[in-house]
């Protein structure tokens, strides 16, 4: 079993009020030096079989038709490394 991640972000030209709300709150929290924040979605898919090219192509199609609305969003499909990121 492997994990495939689909990151979906609003296109750069689309207003992202959630990201803005975070950014506006930063100074209040004492954070300086972050010039932009965008908020998007992350999907973690557990894939049963091997993640070969065919599987990736299918997931790409899934992202394009379903997980993202390409009128407003961009997406990236990644195979997650088995090693866990350090927190």
């Amino acid at each position: 079993m492997a994990r495939v991640v689909v990151d979906v972000m609003l296109k750069p030209e689309i207003l992202d009020p959630q990201g803005q709300a975070v950014q506006r709150a930063l100074p209040r929290l004492g954070f300086q030096g972050i010039s932009d924040v965008r908020q998007g979605k992350r999907f973690e898919l557990e894939v049963d079989g091997p993640v070969d090219d065919a599987a990736l192509a299918r997931i790409h199609e899934l992202a394009e038709t379903f997980l993202a609305n390409t009128v407003i969003e961009d997406f990236v499909v990644k195979v997650e490394e088995p090693a866990v990121e350090a927190k």
């Binding site: 689309i14 959630q18 997980l67």
Partner: protein, 227 residues
């Protein structure tokens, strides 16, 4: 015989019974349609009502769009059957691309429920014939994903073709581009809007106004007249 108006229920649809009531108040017959059935029961028109179909999970309208009933609705809409999408129904219509653009989280990030003033920009759609072009009406608005967006080219095209059907007046409640509250397709049979005409058909309830009744009398006239 009066017109048969189908009202679709998806899992999580909320305003289906209210829409059926509005259809009846206008004098038409309301026909419940179930999301799993492809059969449209020979209705003359379809309303996709408001609510949170599939919890609005993923994106509002994104999951309902793939239901069996929508296959038929898309097909019939393309063939000219009148379809009205209210709120969540509008979101479904944009997800199916029967209407251009997309709906996003309100710019203030909150759910908003208010009595909203609109201008009916065109009465040459199946659902607005009973209004004057330019008429101002007030009907309830209630949503969290009501911000209409589309690229500049699409917006220009909509304006040029007179397809902006409703515009917010006084306040833009959610950051919708060009104050757009609702749009129509080129043929004028498919209309979507965020505010809720079905909640403004009886003087007693809600805001006490009946400004929304015109949607349902328009379609009735349109259909019965066409027979």
């Amino acid at each position: 015989m009066t017109a048969r108006i189908g009202v679709v229920t998806f899992p999580g649809t909320l305003d289906d019974r209210d829409t059926q009531r509005a259809v009846r108040v206008a004098g038409a017959e309301a026909v419940p349609l179930w999301h799993r059935d492809k059969d449209l029961k020979q209705v003359d028109a379809v309303v996709l009502p408001g609510g949170f179909s599939y919890g609005d999970y993923l994106r509002a309208g994104a999951i309902s769009r793939f239901s069996p009933v929508m296959e038929s609705v898309i097909e019939q809409a393309k063939a000219g059957m009148p379809v009205l999408g209210i709120c969540n129904g509008f979101q479904v219509l944009t997800e199916t691309h029967l209407l251009p653009g997309a709906m996003l989280r309100n710019n203030h990030l909150h759910f908003i429920c208010r009595d909203q003033k609109l201008r009916v920009e065109t009465n040459s759609t199946a659902w607005t014939a009973d209004y004057e072009a330019g008429q101002e009406i007030s009907i309830p608005l209630k949503n969290i994903d009501g911000r209409y967006v589309a690229d500049e080219r699409t917006l220009d095209l909509l304006e040029a073709e007179g397809r902006v059907a409703f515009r917010y007046l006084d306040v833009n409640p959610n950051g919708s581009l060009r104050d757009i509250a609702g749009i129509t397709n080129e043929a004028g049979n498919v209309v979507g809007l965020m505010p809720h005409p079905e909640h403004a058909v009886e003087p007693l309830v809600g805001t006490g106004r009946t400004d929304g009744l015109g949607f349902f009398t328009s379609i009735l006239k349109n259909l019965v007249g066409a027979r």
